[in-house]
Symmetry: C2
Subunit: 250 residues, 2 copies
DNA sequence: TGTCGTGCAGAGGTCCGACCACTAGAATAC
DNA sequence: GTATTCTAGTGGTCGGACCTCTGCACGACA
């Protein structure tokens, strides 16, 4: 990426970064209009926009057409579709994403059992109830499913791991946005979530980890089955990649 | 982020994404010059650059001034400084980064013990040797330290987890780029790496996980000590955040 | 009085065309 | 042969014009 001093992009990024680190800029805050900000920074509007675009791509800024540019609010997120794009590029396998998710969320569940607070338990309980109430509506169910896992991530007390989980799950959903689950499975799913909730609430970290792992393993095999009947592949790549000096055709 | 059809940015992103998914664009490939590409896509060069900038920020493209724009090569990486920026924004604590790293790398070490291949073992062994050879040179030592962990990530067979690890460690290094380690610690560090190597080589996953965890825990406390003498804090945040409608001062 | 529609101001989005800065390789001088 | 200089090609920056979207004030209407 561009160097620090020379490039306008980095000048903007560093300027905003400094403002954030000094506390002068907080989540939800609005930065000045582009024209004005550019004038104040003594750079062109185009360059300013490049820098803002960089920050927006990484989820640090939130640009709203016709409204203004804001510092990102809400839970920390890496670039929303970054993993999805990288996956397409490097040929990430579906089972690898599931594995990563399984590892992260199992640990997260254990941490939530150890550090969770009453408010988290309450929220988890509510989501479980909503899941049971919407077993007949996959769309609605999914919303509470996502929220349940998100609350666990919050309860873990480690926002970094939570952000990583968010990145993976969003890439996962992006890949399977077409496959709708069958209602029959949802009842089992809700049961498992209830088990997870109970383990966390009783501060049984090992149990929480184990049940979460079971839940995600089941979810994976269920989707594998639904998709192609193929089990998780174990491919290798000793790719002797060719380098094209000439631009590719478009 | 911008919508799919309307916004030029997403038009570019989706176009390139499609080219990647269809296999027409592979890591290392070069895309046409901006002027030509823009003409072919029937958009302005500025818009094209916005889209490319987005992809570059996420580590999918590699733009080289005076040379050309290429599809990113090498190991997959999320936006290099994304975590660092998000950390500044959301106030990530140092111990949280270490914890995330510890969890990821412990698991990675265990997976490497199970799935690693001869070539990985060889590479690990070489790095360990280099580490012993450079205990008197912290700069050099660090290089092999990083490589050692990177090989383990590769040997794990899960590039997604490897990319996440890379993201965290680069953010960590970014934070501590000033603190140089003392030579005395390096000997101990090398010993631990050797232990990790042996555990992995003998395919003892549990041992590999345990030693890696020990190593990272020690590294953390060593740095905590060096930095401020303060132990890992356990802070909380029930931040009642204010929302500023007016742009902040710059 | 309350509601709905319209217009406007301000913000980001796109475009153009010119020029600057960097890189690699070709041409040249030694 | 080697070192230097030149140059074509490519990304980087600029500014200034115009388009599009959003939120809100204002006024017409019921």
């Amino acid at each position: 990426m561009p160097k620090s001093d020379t490039h306008m992009t980095m000048r903007v990024v560093n300027h905003i970064r400094t403002m954030i680190e000094s506390g002068g800029l907080q989540p939800g805050d609005r930065i000045p209009p582009e024209r004005e900000f550019a004038r104040k920074l003594r750079i062109s509007r185009a360059s300013l926009r490049t820098g803002i675009g960089y920050l927006a791509a990484m989820g640090v800024m939130d640009v709203r057409h016709g409204v203004g540019t804001f510092v990102a609010d809400g839970p920390p997120e890496l670039g929303k579709s970054s993993l999805s794009l990288l996956g397409a590029l490097h040929g990430f396998q579906s089972w690898q994403m599931f594995e990563a998710r399984r590892i992260l969320e199992s640990e997260l569940a254990a941490m939530a059992a150890e550090r969770g607070r009453e408010q988290h338990f309450t929220a988890l309980s509510e989501e479980v109830a909503e899941m049971y109430a919407t077993v007949g509506n996959p769309i609605e169910y999914l919303i509470h499913d996502v929220r349940f896992h998100r609350v666990i991530a919050q309860a873990s007390g480690n926002p970094i791991l939570a952000a990583l989980m968010e990145t993976i799950t969003s890439a996962l959903y992006d890949e399977r946005r077409k496959t709708a689950e069958r209602s029959r499975d949802l009842k089992e799913s809700a049961d498992l979530h209830r088990e997870i909730y109970r383990a966390i609430r009783s501060r049984n970290a090992a149990e929480a980890r184990a049940v979460m792992e079971r839940h995600l393993t089941m979810a994976q095999s269920a989707q594998d089955l639904e998709l192609s009947g193929a089990p998780a592949p174990l491919s290798e790549n000793g790719k002797p990649r060719k380098v094209r000096r000439k631009p590719v055709e478009v």
